[in-house]
Symmetry: C2
Subunit: 347 residues, 2 copies
DNA sequence: ATGCCGCGTGGGAGCGGTCCCACGGTCGGT
DNA sequence: ACCGACCGTGGGACCGCTCCCACGCGGCAT
């Protein structure tokens, strides 16, 4: 009958509540709440007392309690299609996340990472995300036919995309100047005297891939050349896709002297294929990639590539989302950030 | 005076509450709650009515309200030191995250991603994490002197680490068999007839780096060779560190015929340095790396490397944490997962 | 002096769940 | 036929916070 054999540690050490702070500071709950939320309508005297009490007690507000009444969660979800994670090499994923995280942290918001299995799960996910779980959603790697953004829009969940689904993207989104980046890459090849320039595209259901292809076309036309369709081969952002596309290009145009690949990973596949065909890079064929990823620096020869300002993209996405959360409509903007050509040995 | 010019959309569509479900199903709140939480003490009749009402209304429980009373948040934080994110190339970060995410999702828990700026911020972070914001913490890339785990332990926050701080890690943790992986790498070099084998270590304040060095020693001693200290050079898991260490090794032992680097990134630096010194890989010097990262496949020659079961590590970490959350003490286990040597052209 | 204004303040109500107690209805045992 | 056990149930209390209303008080105009 003795209570001797209770569990060793209570482990449920009750943290101080706002009430405790109020009692200790000798003020009412309302005043403590005002101090915490930075209301100006508090006398310096009360404010000091409350701040002292908070420090003494090590008080931290309970988020759940606050959320319950404010109907805000102070957290946003970053949705990443599961399938894409395999492609998330350095620097893309970490870069964006760093930017997002920094901006959110400065606003006191939390970042929820959600890997979405696939399109089928989107309905559940949309419901889930709209059920007052997050204040907004950031979505990466959108495809033209993604339905999640539409669902979220219906449910009035603030949403910002990395990239856009089409030319007229109603939702706020941030992207690199893919067209301009591709153009600078191809212009670089032209400046190096290359004239028979092929391109390996990404999956054309992604705007970034389409924009890079457009940039390729623009650069050629800007130089007074005509775009020849058999110099365009399609990849899927994978190395094997890059190899296959390169093989196809060589079959069609054995004499081409340069290739612009819409990603470094595909470019690395292209380099392997070029070498397998006995060609030298950049001697016979110059190669430019996109992303300035870790492989760009490590393959032989090191790859000339287009760099995106990833952290800034992340920060900007988070910023737009915070705007949209604060006031609907204000975050529905399109931000395009400049790219930079990093010249290395491959072109 | 007319109310005509109100804001266009209310946007604050109140979601159905448990009360609404109860009313529609013609039962009390308690019964609805029981159904939602899978209590057996509900008649089939009531259960069916409630489930129908939930489906009709599209009801989703409010997490904040639930958290407030249960004192659980159904979410865990994944803490990543900001500095480390730069090193998170494929496949490490995405691999672990996929595993963690999968396991947590199956338990209905959320994943909070927290990038910690630095050690100084840990005090704030610990308080923050303990303030009923998360049920537990997963921590990556721990160093021997990391204080966050201690703080979390004091605060009784369930914690699981990727890797351990020292030989006797009191907290639950998951790691690859770093020693065994290194041993297999060096044994592979020995089997190829190499005898003067150097190693480039990681930062020795990380257990993984120490364990890999120990594995290197074990393999040599197991083959009846003595470990010569001037065949050991220290790196920091960066490419430049790998280059510098390789340079040092070549200065000390120009005739060495193999190198085991504790990471692929350092190995790639070593390869560059070897080539700069006029040596062929693997002709003159064989190289083995660790991580089977994306660079391993892309550098020339492709790198023989040690692969870790990343997704499984992630799943296991999440599993241990869930155990610990469910019952203190049960997740404080040490799990070591096997590695696999992936043989390519470099050794 | 008297009234009024406005500032700073205390505290009641309520957010949407869970927990638990008390209650009515069956049913088996005596 | 009566009693107690047990099962399913309804609903009050409460989690910790914000919102908002009402109140006291000092200073200014009248």
């Amino acid at each position: 009958m003795s209570p001797a054999e209770q569990p060793p540690a209570p482990a449920d050490v009750r943290r101080p509540t706002l009430n405790a702070v109020a009692a200790r500071a000798g003020v009412g709950r309302g005043t403590v709440s005002r101090v915490i939320n930075g209301s100006p309508k508090v006398s310096p005297r009360s404010r000091a007392a409350v701040e002292q009490a908070i420090a003494d007690l090590g008080y931290v507000p309970n988020r759940a309690a606050r959320s319950l009444v404010t109907r805000r969660t102070d957290s946003v979800a970053l949705v990443v299609p599961e399938a894409e994670t395999r492609l998330f090499s350095e620097p893309y994923f970490p870069g964006i996340i760093r930017g997002v995280s920094a901006r959110l942290a400065s606003a006191g918001m939390q970042l929820l990472l959600v890997l979405a299995d696939d399109e089928k799960e989107y309905a559940r996910l949309a419901t889930y995300l709209s059920a007052q779980r997050v204040d907004g959603v950031l979505m990466m790697a959108v495809h033209s036919d993604d339905t999640l953004p539409d669902r979220l829009e219906e449910l009035a969940v603030p949403t910002v995309l990395a990239g856009r689904r089409g030319d007229r993207e109603p939702l706020g989104h941030v992207r690199a100047d893919n067209g301009g980046g591709a153009r600078s890459a191809v212009q670089h090849l032209l400046a190096r005297g290359r004239r028979s320039i092929g391109t390996i595209t990404g999956p054309l259901d992604m705007d970034a891939a389409r924009a890079r292809l457009d940039g390729y076309r623009d650069a050629l036309e800007g130089a007074g050349l005509t775009v020849e369709e058999d110099l365009i081969a399609h990849g899927d952002f994978t190395e094997e896709g890059g190899r296959a596309a390169m093989r196809e290009l060589l079959r069609r145009r054995p004499g081409l002297d340069a290739v612009f690949a819409a990603s470094d990973v595909m470019a690395s596949g292209a380099v392997l294929e070029l070498r397998a065909s006995g060609r030298r890079v950049p001697g016979d064929v110059a190669v430019v990639g996109f992303d300035d990823s870790i492989v760009a620096r490590h393959i032989d020869p090191p790859l000339t590539s287009v760099r995106q300002p990833l952290e800034e993209m992340g920060r900007t996405m988070a910023g737009l989302l915070l705007d949209e959360i604060a006031e609907r409509g204000t975050g529905r903007r399109e931000v395009v950030l400049p790219t930079e050509l990093v010249v290395r040995a491959s072109a």
